[in-house]
Amino acid sequence: MPTWLKLALVAVTLCVWSVATAAERVHIVIPAGPGGGLDGTAREAGRVLVELGQVERMSFENVSGGGGGRAMAYFLENAGRFDAPLLVNSTPLLVRSLQGVFPYGHRDLTPVAALVADYGVFVVRADDARADWDAVLGSLGTNPRAVTVGGGSTRGSLDHIVLAMALRAADIDPLGVRYLPYDGGGKAMLALLGGEVDLLSTGLGETMAYIEAGEVRALAVTSAHRIPAIAEVPTLTELGHSLVFANWRGLFGPPDMPAAVLEEHLRRLDAMRDSSAWQAVLERRGWDGLDTTGDDFAAFLDAQEAELREIMEALGFVQSRPER
C-alpha cells in the first residue's frame, strides 16, 4: 500500500471517528467550579447515563463567575456548537435573576428536568435550651434580637430568604431579626458550634452529618414530607406553618431546542431515574430525587419565582416596579 493511501485511510478514519463521536456526545455546562453541589449533580448524572449505555460520551465544562451569569451567557452564545448541550442550574438562578445580577432568567432556557432537591433546615446547638421551633419563635416574638441567626450566604440569598419565609409564616417581621452571613455553610456551622450565632438557616445536605453525630439539633425542615434519615424532625407544615421550599438542581436546554431532542433527553433521564445506580447515588450523597420534567418543571419554576419575588420585595432586595 503506498504511503499516500495509508495517510488517506488514517484521515478518513479520523473524520468518521470525530463525526461519530460528536453525534453521540452530550455536553453539560456547569456554572460553578469543580467539587461543589452543581458540579457533583452534573457529573454523577453523566456517569450513570454512560454506565447505563444511554449516552456514549459525556463532556463537562465548568464556567464559573458572575454568580452563574457567565455560564448562562456562554451557554446561550455557544449552544449551537454542541450536539446535545445542557446547562445544570439550581434555585439561585431564580434569585439572581430577580436581583438583576444578570439579564437572563429561566425563560431564556428550555427547562428539561429537575433531578434532585435539597431542603432548608433550621438547627441549634445540641445543648440549646430551646426545645423546638415554637420555642425559637417564642423568643423571637418577644424580642427579635434575642436569637442571632447565621447562614452560609449573603443577605438576600437563599439561606436568608428561606429564614425570612419561615419567619413570615409565623407572623414575625424578618427585617427585625439579626442575620449574620458567612462565607459558606461550613464556616456558618463553625459559628454555630462556637456560639457566635444561636440558630443556623442552611441546606439539609451539608448539615446531615452534624445532625446524625448529635452535634446539632434540627428543629424543622422545609420539605413536604419528613426525611427518612432524620425521621424525628418535623416539617414546617406539620408545625402549622404553610411553607414548603425545595432548592432544586436540574437540567436546561438552549431556548430553541427541538421537541425531538427534548423527548430524547427525557427518555434517557427516565431510564436513569429508574436505575439502581442512580438510587445508589442519591443514597450516597443524601439527595432527594425529583421527577418533575418538561412543562411541569417550567410551571414549577414560574410558581417558585412568584413566591421568591414576593418575599424578596418584602425584604427590599427587589424593587417592586416593572421589570427593566
Binding site: G33, P34, G35, G36, D39, G40, R43, E44, R47, N62, V63, S64, G65, G66, G67, G69, R70, A73, Q99, V101, F102, T148, T154, R155, G156, S157, R178, L180, P181, Y182, D183, G184, G186, K187, M189, L190, A191, L193, G194, G195, E196, M208, A209, Y210, E212, A213, E215, R284, R285, F317
Partner: protein, 497 residues
C-alpha cells in the same frame, strides 16, 4: 489518648502498595502543577478531580492530599525564580527569595525552601497525628471579633515594620489593596460594588490576577525599563545550601512550623497569615539572629507547609473547609459519600489515620523529587533578559487565563501591571498592596459581623480574653514606629518587593 490503635490502622492503610503509588502520583502531579507560575493548589486539585473519581475513597483522598501539599511544596519555585507567587501563601517567600535569586543564589534559595517545606510539612503531620481532635476546639474559640483583630494586627505590622521613610507609602499601598478587595459582591448585603455592570467583576478580582500583575508582570516590565544591557544574572557558586545553613535555619524552621500549624488550624486565610507572620517575626523581632535572607526564605516556607497540614484539622474533624482548596477537597470527599466531620474518626478510622500517615511518606517523596530538580530549575534565572522577560510575561498571562478562562482578566491584568510599574517607579512598595488586597474581604466580613453582633459598640476589643490579647498586640505594633523615631540609625534592610 487511644490514638495508637488508630495510628496502627493508618500505617497499614498508608503502606498498602497501591496507596503508596497514589501518594507518589499525587505529590508528583501537585508539585509540578504548583511550580507553574499562576497555578496553585486549587488548580492542581481541580485538574486531578477526574482521576480521583476512579479510585476508592482512601486511595483517592491520599492522592488528593498529596496533590494539595505537593502544590504548596512546589509553589515557592515560581516565587523565588521569577517573583510570581501562584498562591497567597508564597507571597512572603518572594520577599527574600527573589532578591537572593537575582544575586545568583537561586539554587540555594530553592534548596532552603525545599528543606524548610519538608520540615514544616513533617512537623505539621506530627502535630496533626497527636493533637488533631484536641485542636478542633481551638478553631471554635476563634470567632469574628478575633479574626477581625488578627487581620488588623497583620495590616498594622505592614506599616509598622516598613523601612525607614516608607511608613506612609506602605500604608497608602495597603489601603489601595484594601480598596481593590471591595470590588465585587458585598458579602454582607449582597450588593454589587465597583462592577460597572460587568459580570466579569461580580466575583471580585482574583488573587492570581492581582499577584501576577503587581509582582511578576510589573517586575518583567521593570527589567525592560531598567535596560542596562542584556546581561544575565551572574552565576555565583551557590547551587546548594551553605555548610552552615542547616544549623542556622533550624530554630527558625522549628518556630515557624509550630506557629504555621497553629494559625493553619484556623479556617480562613490560614497559610497566608501564617507565612506572613513567620516572616515578619523572623525579620523584625529576631534581629539578634542577624539580617539573613536564608532565614527569610525558610520561615514562610516552613510555616505555609505546616499550615497546609494544619488546615486538615478543621476539615477532617469538623468537616469545615478553611480555604478554597479544602472546600474543593471537601467536595471530593462528599462525592465518595464520605462526610468529614465529628464522626469521621469513628466511621472511617482507616481513612482518617491513613491520610495523616501518608503525609509523612508524601513529604519524603517531595523532598526526593524536588532536590534533584533544583540545579535544572535554577538555570531559568540565568537566561538572558530577552529570553526571560517574554517567558515571564507568557507564563503569567497563561496562569491567569487558565484560572478563569476569561479573556477580560487578561486586559485587566495588563492595566494593573502598568499601574504597578508606575507605583514602583514612584517608590511605593507593592507587597503591602497585595497583602491589603488578600486580607481585605476577610477583614470586612468579620468586622461587619462583629459590629452586627455588638450593635455597633467597639467594646468587643476588650471584653473577650483572646481579643483583649490581640488588641494589646496591635497597640504594641502601633508603638513600634515611635520607638524607632528615638532610636538612632540602623540601616534599612528591607529590599523592595
Amino acid at each position: 489518648m487511644g490514638a495508637w490503635e488508630g495510628i496502627a490502622t493508618g500505617l497499614a492503610t498508608a503502606f498498602n502498595p497501591a496507596n503508596l503509588l497514589w501518594v507518589v502520583a499525587g505529590c508528583l502531579a501537585g508539585t509540578f502543577i504548583g511550580m507553574m507560575p499562576g497555578l496553585g493548589p486549587i488548580t492542581a486539585i481541580a485538574l486531578m478531580i477526574p482521576v480521583s473519581y476512579s479510585l476508592d475513597p482512601a486511595a483517592g483522598l491520599i492522592m488528593m492530599a498529596g496533590v494539595y501539599y505537593g502544590a504548596v511544596f512546589g509553589g515557592s519555585t515560581s516565587s523565588i525564580l521569577i517573583n510570581a507567587p501562584g498562591v497567597a501563601s508564597t507571597v512572603a517567600t518572594s520577599f527574600d527569595g527573589y532578591p537572593m535569586a537575582r544575586r545568583g543564589q537561586a539554587g540555594r534559595a530553592l534548596a532552603l525552601a525545599a528543606h524548610a517545606s519538608f520540615a514544616g510539612g513533617t512537623i505539621g503531620a506530627v502535630a496533626l497525628l497527636v493533637f488533631a481532635p484536641a485542636l478542633a476546639a481551638l478553631a471554635k474559640e476563634f470567632q469574628s471579633p478575633e479574626y477581625a483583630l488578627m487581620l488588623v494586627f497583620a495590616l498594622s505590622s505592614i506599616a509598622a515594620f516598613a523601612d525607614r521613610g516608607q511608613v506612609l507609602r506602605s500604608l497608602a499601598a495597603a489601603l489601595v489593596g484594601l480598596m481593590l478587595g471591595t470590588v465585587g459582591t458585598d458579602q454582607s448585603a449582597g450588593v454589587q460594588r465597583f462592577t460597572f455592570g460587568r459580570l466579569d467583576l461580580t466575583d471580585g478580582l482574583s488573587f492570581v490576577l492581582v499577584a501576577m500583575a503587581t509582582f511578576a508582570l510589573a517586575e518583567a516590565f521593570r527589567m525592560v525599563l531598567a535596560g542596562n544591557g542584556d546581561a544575565p544574572t551572574p552565576r555565583v557558586a551557590h547551587a546548594r545550601l551553605h555548610p552552615g545553613d542547616p544549623k542556622a535555619i533550624a530554630p527558625t524552621v522549628a518556630r515557624s512550623s509550630v506557629l504555621g500549624f497553629l494559625v493553619g488550624v484556623l479556617p480562613g486565610a490560614g497559610a497566608t497569615l501564617a507565612s506572613f507572620f513567620s516572616y515578619e517575626f523572623q525579620k523584625r523581632f529576631r534581629r539578634r539572629d542577624g539580617v539573613d535572607d536564608a532565614r527569610g526564605v525558610a520561615a514562610p516556607e516552613a510555616a505555609n507547609n505546616a499550615a497546609c497540614t494544619g488546615s486538615f484539622v478543621p476539615l477532617l474533624t469538623l468537616g469545615i473547609p478553611g480555604s478554597g482548596t479544602t472546600a474543593v477537597l471537601l467536595g471530593v470527599m462528599l462525592s465518595y459519600g464520605v462526610q468529614p466531620g465529628p464522626r469521621l474518626l469513628e466511621v472511617e478510622p482507616a481513612m482518617f489515620w491513613g491520610v495523616i500517615v501518608s503525609m509523612y511518606i508524601g513529604n519524603l517523596v517531595l523532598l526526593a523529587l524536588n532536590l534533584p530538580l533544583i540545579p535544572h530549575l535554577s538555570r531559568i534565572i540565568h537566561l538572558r533578559r530577552r529570553v526571560l522577560v517574554p517567558f515571564v510575561i507568557a507564563f503569567s498571562l497563561l496562569g491567569v487565563y487558565l484560572t478563569s478562562l476569561n479573556a477580560f482578566d487578561i486586559h485587566l491584568m495588563l492595566g494593573f501591571a502598568l499601574a504597578g510599574v508606575v507605583l514602583r517607579l514612584a517608590g511605593f512598595p507593592l507587597a503591602p498592596l497585595l497583602l491589603g488586597f488578600i486580607l481585605s474581604g476577610m477583614l470586612e466580613d468579620n468586622l461587619r459581623r462583629t459590629m452586627l453582633l455588638a450593635d455597633g459598640s467597639l467594646a468587643f476589643f476588650l471584653d473577650r480574653p483572646v481579643s483583649l490579647g490581640l488588641t494589646a498586640l496591635c497597640v504594641l505594633v502601633w508603638l513600634a514606629p515611635l520607638r524607632r523615631l528615638t532610636a538612632k540609625a540602623r540601616k534599612p534592610d528591607r529590599s523592595t518587593a
